[in-house]
């Protein structure tokens, strides 16, 4: 195996492959940073190009785009409070407050380094633990997915510690939105009001672009601020962040990366879920959870390391079982199949050269990302020196392009605008857009797996057995209960002081 890793490294370092990796990274970071253009889109668009290359080089480029785009999403999240890809929603929680406090450089560098760290951890999982983890993915059945999503939803309670009631209402509204369209089990259209295009349901990405980007534009325009935030280039931020991460964030980075890698393995759960869970776990284990959301490096590190770690994870079932762990991995599998390469455990022996070169190249890509990323940061941070009127126009244009491009459908543009208005006016009456987004993302997965679990319970003759006896389910149930009661316990222990602090953060 070590020989193959060595051979893979040599292949990955060939000039042409290095060139593809850098080109892919640059393109990927830009796509990720532009709100509305997602990693899936970037990879899908470049697949046709890879048909003309040898499969290894093609995969290296796709892997670089994937890594770059997932990292790139944090740029927009930090600088304009607009997640560039759905995976960086949690990055806005601390990244944006940092930016407003004039610490954009720190936030951007923290996100870059954490992304690279997470990417490397995810790749190491892929390199050394692919086979056992692929088997773990198979243990994740419908009831486990159901509980995972319930656990994800329980973070609403922790997220909106200031006003749990409004958070829950927002989450419930999100769940309600997610029931529009074909019922996943019976195939019956719901809440379409006779308007056929709604049969396909509310696509998550346009809804998110609306809730986060478009509503943000309306806020910006309404705020009459000339600039988004004060920004002065801050030399030495890179090294300061390196020291800070090394000193305070080792545990957070490791835990978040492991969470990311494991969530990534599960088909149907990707960076958007991993980053929220990781953020929340970091917050829970912190000595002083109330500082999360005020603009601290730890929050950015948790979210960004987790979402990049999902990349390696999502490739595990794709390579080992032919079951893609994410939408991007599915597109990459299509590219493999065109070249006549069949995924499976034997890919490591039958096409070992390709498999190892690809995996090792992901390590190289993550190292290169630090270089390419820190060059690009210098440019992207300048967005803050541009008057909001220009930034607003650019975000509107990109939001429309991005929503349309998901399925080339104007319906999605309308959905985006609708949710933009919901986000803007809703936040005035305390609607929690994060909680609502969580509902929209997790709703369909919860519903589908609840339906499947009930069908399975019918065959097994016991609802209790299906939902409450699988070991993974039990772990998730315990985590859910903990997640719901910790904020309550904490506020009881600390009395009024915490409550005031939290309220202070929210206002």
């Amino acid at each position: 195996m070590w020989e193959q890793i060595g051979a893979g490294l040599i292949n990955a370092l060939q000039p042409f492959n290095l060139f593809l990796a850098i080109a892919g990274l640059t393109g990927g970071i830009l796509i990720g940073a532009l709100p509305g253009l997602t990693a899936t889109m970037g990879v899908a668009l470049m697949v046709p190009l890879t048909f003309a290359m040898n499969p290894t080089s093609g995969l290296i480029m796709l892997g670089a785009i994937y890594s770059g785009a997932i990292y790139g999403g944090s740029n927009a999240a930090i600088l304009i409070n607009t997640p560039g890809t759905p995976s960086s929603v949690a990055t806005t929680f601390d990244g944006w407050p940092m930016c407003r406090a004039g610490k954009a450089d720190e936030a951007l560098n923290a996100s870059l380094l954490s992304s690279a760290f997470g990417g490397i951890v995810g790749t190491l999982f892929l390199l050394f633990l692919a086979a056992p983890l692929a088997r773990l993915a198979l243990k994740f059945g419908a009831p486990e997915f159901f509980w995972l999503c319930i656990f994800g939803l329980s973070t609403i309670a922790a997220m909106s510690a200031g006003n749990v009631f409004k958070g829950l209402v927002s989450g419930a509204l999100g769940l309600l939105v997610s029931t529009i369209g074909l019922d996943p089990i019976e195939g019956v259209p719901r809440f379409t009001f006779g308007y056929y295009p709604l049969v396909q349901g509310i696509e998550v990405i346009p809804a998110m672009i609306g809730l986060f980007s478009f509503s943000q534009v309306i806020n910006l325009v309404g705020s009459r601020q000339k600039y988004i935030a004060d920004y002065k280039p801050n030399p030495g931020a890179f090294m300061r962040v390196v020291r800070k991460l090394w000193k305070d964030c080792k545990m957070i980075l490791t835990r978040s990366s492991v969470i990311g890698a494991i969530v990534g393995i599960l088909p149907g759960a990707g960076g958007e879920i991993a980053s929220i869970i990781a953020y929340n776990e970091s917050k829970r284990w912190d000595r002083n959870p109330s500082r999360y959301g005020t603009g601290i490096v730890e929050g950015v590190a948790a979210s960004e390391s987790a979402n990049n770690a999902t990349i390696g994870g999502s490739l595990i079932p794709m390579l080992c079982l032919g079951i893609p762990g994410s939408a991007v991995a599915a597109v990459m599998m299509g590219a493999l199949l065109v070249h006549g390469i069949t995924p499976g455990f034997k890919i490591f022996t039958a096409s070992g050269n390709l498999a190892y070169t690809f995996i090792v190249s992901l390590l190289v890509v993550n190292v290169l990302m630090v270089l390419v990323g820190s060059l690009l940061i210098k440019g992207t941070a300048r967005v803050l020196n541009v008057p909001t009127s220009y930034v607003g126009v650019a975000i509107v244009a990109l939001s429309i392009i991005g929503s349309y491009a998901i399925r080339n459908s104007m319906v999605d543009v309308m959905i985006m605008i609708f949710f933009g208005l919901v986000g803007h006016f809703g936040s005035r009456i305390g609607l929690d857009t994060g909680a609502m987004a969580l509902g929209i993302i997790l709703g369909p997965i919860v519903e589908e797996n609840l339906g499947k679990s009930i069908a399975l319970a019918g065959a097994d003759g016991s609802v209790f057995k299906v939902f409450f006896t699988h070991p993974i389910s039990l772990i998730l149930i315990v985590l859910t209960v903990l997640s719901v009661i910790t904020p309550w316990l904490l506020s009881r222990r600390r009395g009024c002081s915490t409550k005031e602090a939290v309220d202070g953060v929210q206002s």
Binding site: L30, M46, V199, G268, M333, L337, T342
Partner: protein, 332 residues
């Protein structure tokens, strides 16, 4: 700040240009080819694919495009109109101007079942049928270490234990769903039907032991043959991808069920254009190099002329109507 502005505008332009370049790169423009004295086509032809880029339908069309470019001067411009299991894209083809510059891929039984069961915005009468290119039969598969070694054992178990056998299918009102209804109708068994969103989740569930049996397609199970045993294939003859697997007919059950891919133009397209398309697609479909590429990609090629394809679609329509009515799934 003026300087900052200019820089930003430049940055923005670069960003938008990059996005546009990427978007057009997705269309795979290529002005190759030599022959072609005919008047049609004089401009690129839109090819609507109702599924995501990189999916099976896309991969198949991309392989065809390679050979189309050799025969025709004008390229295809791929447009992905995805959603609702293909219904959005199929409706898009049906609604397009019948000028020959928009064609697209369709799947059977999708185009039959969606108008029947889900009120899709097109009917099978909205198309001119160019040809069929793929016939991907449904199979019955179990895990490699399953106690079921044959279709008969599965049926025996299901007969003795009504509603205990867990069968995974992908989607409702799909080919899988129809085949499961057909199987229950013809054998009198009652099973628990577990509906998955896609083949990926379903394959994982079978390998993880959540379901006992699944209905899949040759193209999907091919990727997991190391861990799955295919008990029977629902085609007239054995699949060349799975030469050791018997057909349902060999097992004494008259079940033929498959997913077919073909190409269509909107109704009302000039008959001369339709004829040109039919001839060109026929030439491509019979090219041995094309067939080799298809096999490499795990795509079970089967050509059928436009006339026969249309006839087949209408037959399926009648059969499906009958079966869905029997199970009370069709609103009168």
């Amino acid at each position: 700040m003026v300087k900052g502005n200019r820089k930003f505008v430049a940055l923005l332009l670069v960003g938008i240009m990059a996005a546009l370049v990427l978007l057009s790169a997705g269309c795979g423009q290529k002005q190759a080819g030599s022959s072609g004295e005919q008047n049609y086509p004089t401009k690129p032809v839109n090819m609507i694919i109702a599924f995501t880029a990189g999916g099976s339908s896309d991969v198949q069309a991309r392989i065809m495009q390679k050979y189309w470019d050799k025969l025709v001067k004008q390229p295809w411009v791929f447009q992905y109109k995805t959603g609702a299991g293909g219904a959005i894209g199929f409706a898009e083809i049906a609604k397009s101007a019948p000028d020959g510059y928009t064609i697209g891929g369709v799947n059977v039984p999708h185009i039959v079942l969606q108008p029947l069961g889900q009120g899709a915005q097109y009917t099978i009468d909205d198309f001119e049928y160019i040809c069929q290119v793929v016939n991907d039969p449904q199979v019955l598969a179990v895990r490699k270490d399953s106690k079921f070694k044959s279709v008969k054992e599965v049926l025996d178990f299901a007969k003795k234990n009504p509603e205990k056998l867990k069968v995974g299918i992908v989607g409702t009102f799909t080919g899988h769903h129809l085949m499961l209804l057909d199987l229950q109708d013809k054998t009198g068994i009652k099973v628990t039907q577990v509906v998955y969103k896609g083949a990926a989740d379903q394959n994982a569930a079978l390998l993880g032991g959540e379901i006992d049996v699944m209905i899949g397609n040759v193209n999907d199970v091919m990727r997991s043959l190391e861990q799955m045993r295919v008990l029977a294939v629902a085609s007239e003859e054995r699949s060349k991808f799975l030469p050791d697997v018997p057909t349902f007919k060999e097992e004494g059950l008259d079940i033929v069920s498959d997913i077919r891919r073909g190409f269509v133009a909107p109704k009302g397209t000039d008959p001369k254009v339709v004829q040109f398309l039919r001839d060109t697609f026929k030439k491509i479909a019979e090219d041995p190099e094309y067939l080799k590429d298809m096999e490499k990609a795990g795509q079970p090629a089967e050509y059928m002329s436009g006339e026969d394809f249309e006839k087949y679609v209408r037959e399926q329509n009648e059969k499906s109507k009958e079966l869905l009515t029997k199970f009370g799934l069709l609103k009168a």
